[in-house]
Symmetry: C2
Subunit: 339 residues, 2 copies
């Protein structure tokens, strides 16, 4: 465990000493402070500064995915530092690119923030994006973006990837007899979320101090929730090893396994002992990679066997149908407060 993976990053307290805000110095001056902190993309042929960027697509194709994070439903500023937000916005999009078997090449980032947001806060988001890319996808960088004012802090990332001449790995390719394997954590991010919503509240509101204390006591779980580090490079390795299907586990192992099963017209049978309990079945947001391989294939990178592809439909756990919705999303009940 090191600082850039599970640490807090620049604390939100530092941002309090900054007096320049997005509203006071304006978009152009703010961007001038953010740009130098953004990671460079090795696929970039023309970067920010014109009407659009230009990226290389060496094999004549590119992978595209987009994901938006909204204050309230998706994160609480009492618990997530701006550094975390940049890191997590990168991680969740990189994982979608990886799940196609592609290498992430670039991100564009649109941020809408209240006018009284300090420039340091936005710089810390940029730091999170940079260090997240450095750790998870070193050749990926930010090639463009947009900065707007909004009462609700919102971060929209679109990510691009290079298939390096391979076919994309779809959800629909699992075949009876294939081995089911996963790379990355299962249930850790959900465990962290559960901790935050139980012990991270004071008087029914998210608390900065309670969150910091929880993260110190449970860095693995809380860090996995606030700044996850999915195994991005294993997506490419899985494709090279001939993965027959793959998905990024964003909504929980059971629910995302059901998506592969439905798309492929098969059932996925999981071994509870191999995945480590029910939290691993239902917990979302780990952004781990779930893939199927021919039995003869060597599982690459961090992939470990957790089950088999069998005839039927849906998901089985230790031989019995598992139909629980899974996932646990306390943000759905968000009360609209500012915490």
């Amino acid at each position: 465990m090191n600082g850039s993976r599970e640490g807090l990053g620049p604390s939100s307290v530092d941002c309090m000493t900054e007096t320049s805000t997005l509203g006071s110095i304006g978009e152009t001056a703010t961007l001038a402070r953010i740009f130098p902190r953004l990671p460079a993309s090795s696929a970039q042929l023309l970067g920010p500064g014109d009407d659009a960027a230009v990226l290389a697509a060496p094999d004549g194709r590119y992978v595209v995915t987009t994901d938006m994070m909204v204050h309230g439903p998706d994160f609480r500023l009492a618990w997530s530092t701006p550094y975390d937000l940049g890191w997590k916005a990168a991680a969740s999009n990189l994982a979608d690119v990886a799940a196609m078997g592609a290498v992430p090449t670039g991100l564009v980032v649109a941020i809408a923030a209240p006018a009284d947001t300090t420039v340091s806060f936005l710089e810390a988001i940029a730091d999170g994006l940079r260090l997240g890319c450095e750790e998870m996808a070193p050749t990926c960088g930010v090639v463009g973006g947009d900065l707007s004012v909004s009462p609700t802090l919102t971060i929209a990332v679109t990510a691009f990837g290079d298939l390096e001449g391979r076919d994309p790995v779809l959800r629909s390719g699992a075949r009876v007899g294939d081995v089911l394997a996963v790379s990355g954590k299962l249930g850790a991010a959900a465990g962290g979320l559960q901790l935050l919503f139980s012990a991270g509240m004071v008087d029914g509101e998210p608390s900065v101090m309670a969150g910091v204390n929880l993260r110190t006591e449970h860095p693995e779980l809380v860090g996995s929730q606030l700044a996850p580090t999915p195994p991005i490079s294993d997506g490419r390795l899985a494709a090279i090893a001939g993965a027959t299907s793959m998905i990024d586990i964003s909504d929980g192992l059971a629910l995302d396994a059901r998506r592969i099963a439905a798309a492929s017209g098969v059932a996925l049978e999981l071994q509870l002992a191999a995945i480590g309990g029910r939290q691993a079945l239902d917990g979302g947001e780990d952004h781990s990679l779930l893939a199927t391989f021919l039995p003869s294939a060597t599982r690459p990178g961090g992939f470990r066997e957790i089950g088999r592809v069998v005839e039927g439909s849906g998901v089985l756990v230790d031989g019995r149908a598992y139909t629980a919705r899974g996932g646990w999303d306390p943000y759905e009940d968000w009360n609209g407060g500012r915490g």
Copy 2:
């Protein structure tokens, strides 16, 4: 003037009869209703439904730009129909792709909306995206997206384009002696905005009825503001004709001309008679295309000459330096109300 260009589209009153909301039926069921309304992209190799889409990049490169629209700072729901919002989100991003000399190929669209937003409202946004693409960039479609809940309606679009083997047209290529030309309206969108903020208010708040009346009386101006139709295909034609520089006029002719001047190390001299007055100089949001051409080049498409590239810096109007900031942005003073 036809319905799809300047008309109101499905009125927001229709949406009132819908009882299904994003919050009541959830993301998956909402997306199932939206998907069939989205335009198809001819560059799409793999569309929505997997972790990411795959697009073709025939010449091994692709153009990327992103732009976010936020309720309040960027639009008012009292005046803009959801159909307008989809159309304008497409138009503003397509114009950035066109300004590089590229042909738009695809969009990804992330929308965050209040949980009580009706599904019809979101369908109307999709209709606006579809009809906007059909009118302005027929081979462009929506290849992916994301749907989130937020107290603030927010639409983030990332657009892609194909340079068809040509170099991108940058802001930095204008040379002394070049002809300055524009394609598209100048000042119409700003004129519409001024009308809305003067006669479209009742008791200091944006009024639905006053907005509808204004649009009926001044369809050209108000339509240009709420659902602009920039000359997207002229971007490609300009590149083929050898445009030396190009920009999309989003912040006003003078301000965006200054950007070409600064990037190219030259001055741009405009003829007031050719552009039609000061509103044309300062008014933003037309998303018209401003380009420079060699004097010997034939101006393609709708491009008309409005000045020359000369030695110096900044912008001259009828021979005198023009340094006004330009633009007029009443949204900056948005009071946070819901109108």
